[in-house]
Symmetry: C2
Subunit: 291 residues, 2 copies
């Protein structure tokens, strides 16, 4: 017996979950039932009537919770988590850069059309607009001094009524004082803000720099995305900085994507048109981890 009891119980349950013997969304046996079930299964050879302790069962379940396989609901029970059908966002090939003749499309439009192409229903909230002092992070990305005033525009995006990503974009306050006053209005700008800024100020975005990190969701994101409190779902955080012809940063967009429902894609060079359609087959362990 190499492994402790609670790990053996967890492994056994994990097997049943991954082999779909316990279906996604369905309820696990209650703690009381598991005490008896695994009392018989792993109990001392002595004989009948053995159970394992409730705390041991709870340790096993806690392991499955932190691995994101189940969630517990007080008063109700323990349930197998439902896997969300993921969506792939293609972040390369933004229409605004690298072309002389441009068909402008706002990021919102682009997102919406990409989602609709996959037969699903996108939704974007009206932006929450604030004037803030730049944090050190925002400042360094925008090439400003820390504490400089910036405009932030914050939006929530959903697919099929499910929260899908959070996005905040920061612009230098300078843009407004120079005349781009619509940046302060809490409404979507149909043609896209990038085009609006170019039209009003003559500042053209010609380059993008994306920085991608992954981390565990914070409490605000757990609430918005309805993530399990202790499930430790990872989120992508993509920081996109747009540059003008002089290499001057003109905006910073920070987008947060929960990793349980989002994939990111980048294309470069000549790529066949239908790659994205392949989807993402289940991962095979041997594909990445030879013994």
């Amino acid at each position: 017996m190499p492994d402790p009891m609670y790990k053996r119980v967890a492994e056994d349950l994990r097997g049943k979950i991954e082999s779909a013997q316990i279906a996604p969304g369905s309820q696990l046996p209650t703690e009381l039932e598991l005490m008896e079930e695994y009392g018989e299964k792993f109990g001392d050879a002595s004989g009948r009537a053995s159970t394992i302790s409730r705390n041991t069962v709870r340790d096993a379940i806690k392991l499955l919770v932190t691995r994101g396989l189940v969630v517990t609901r007080p008063g109700k029970g323990t349930f197998v988590v439902r896997k969300i059908d993921p969506f792939m966002s293609t972040l390369s090939g933004s229409p605004e850069v690298g072309r002389e003749t441009v068909r402008y499309m706002s990021e919102v439009e682009r997102y919406a059309s990409e989602v609709e192409e996959s037969g699903r229903k996108p939704d974007v909230t009206v932006p929450r607009v604030e004037v803030q002092r730049a944090s050190s992070r925002v400042a360094s990305h925008l090439g400003l001094a820390e504490g400089t005033m910036v405009i932030s525009r914050y939006q929530q995006r959903s697919i099929d009524e499910t929260p899908w990503s959070l996005q905040t974009t920061f612009y230098p306050m300078e843009f407004v004082t120079q005349g781009a006053t619509r940046l302060l209005i809490a409404e979507n700008i149909t043609d896209g803000i990038i085009k609006y800024v170019e039209d009003i100020l003559g500042v053209r975005q010609v380059g993008l720099h994306d920085l991608i990190t992954a981390r565990v969701a914070d409490s605000h994101e757990i609430a918005f995305f309805d993530l399990p409190e202790e499930g430790q779902v990872a989120v992508f955080e993509v920081s996109r900085v747009g540059f003008d012809e002089h290499g001057q940063p003109l905006r910073l967009t920070v987008t947060v994507y929960p990793a349980d429902r989002n994939y990111l894609a980048y294309d470069e060079g000549k790529v066949p048109p239908n790659v994205a359609a392949l989807g993402v087959p289940a991962l095979g362990l041997s594909d990445r981890s030879p013994r």
Copy 2:
């Protein structure tokens, strides 16, 4: 007092860790000491000599472990995890695509030079070469039937003696039968395999498709990267498919990057040369999550 005792203890410890009152790498008070410390701090108002239960202390520490803040070592103690100085990999701008005149550089060379530029010491193992049947995932990315024979080349990469990423590349077995026999040799190919395949077979890589996912590390990765067993560190998994002029996939490279020490970057269009040097300042909560 809304929160249960173990959460209050965890919060208090988290504060001390994040404010560096307990330094990275240093030891927390032992469970016994914490029982007494928080017995006085949160204990019933009655008077002296109160302690909280050892199990309650352990629940608090378990919370910190799953959040990746501390690790426990039997017989030694509980320690604040050291944050690893992260490295940013720029995945766009591969020299092989999008240019007519090409200075070929292997992925290994490219990785090594990027690391060295930042003043650190890269290391790459000799590849482990295997002939395998394609899993459904490998097959679909390479446009082959499941079960077709493929060559896999697996490498481990380190920075400053610390394991940093894992990479496996798959090529169609066809390449070998057509003459590219060096694919089977377990040694690095100096100029890069992409150039070798072009020279021998005339198959030229002109496009790339990258698919990025995040998930929690599996047991093999936990062992190789020395990640905390229950710490739930996320890893990036980047699947890169290279295409030839006819849109035919010619290789699949799967790279795994632990998110605690890796950032990914993509550039597009005209970007100033020093962006990458900015690094990644600490995240500010308000940058992504207005109240």
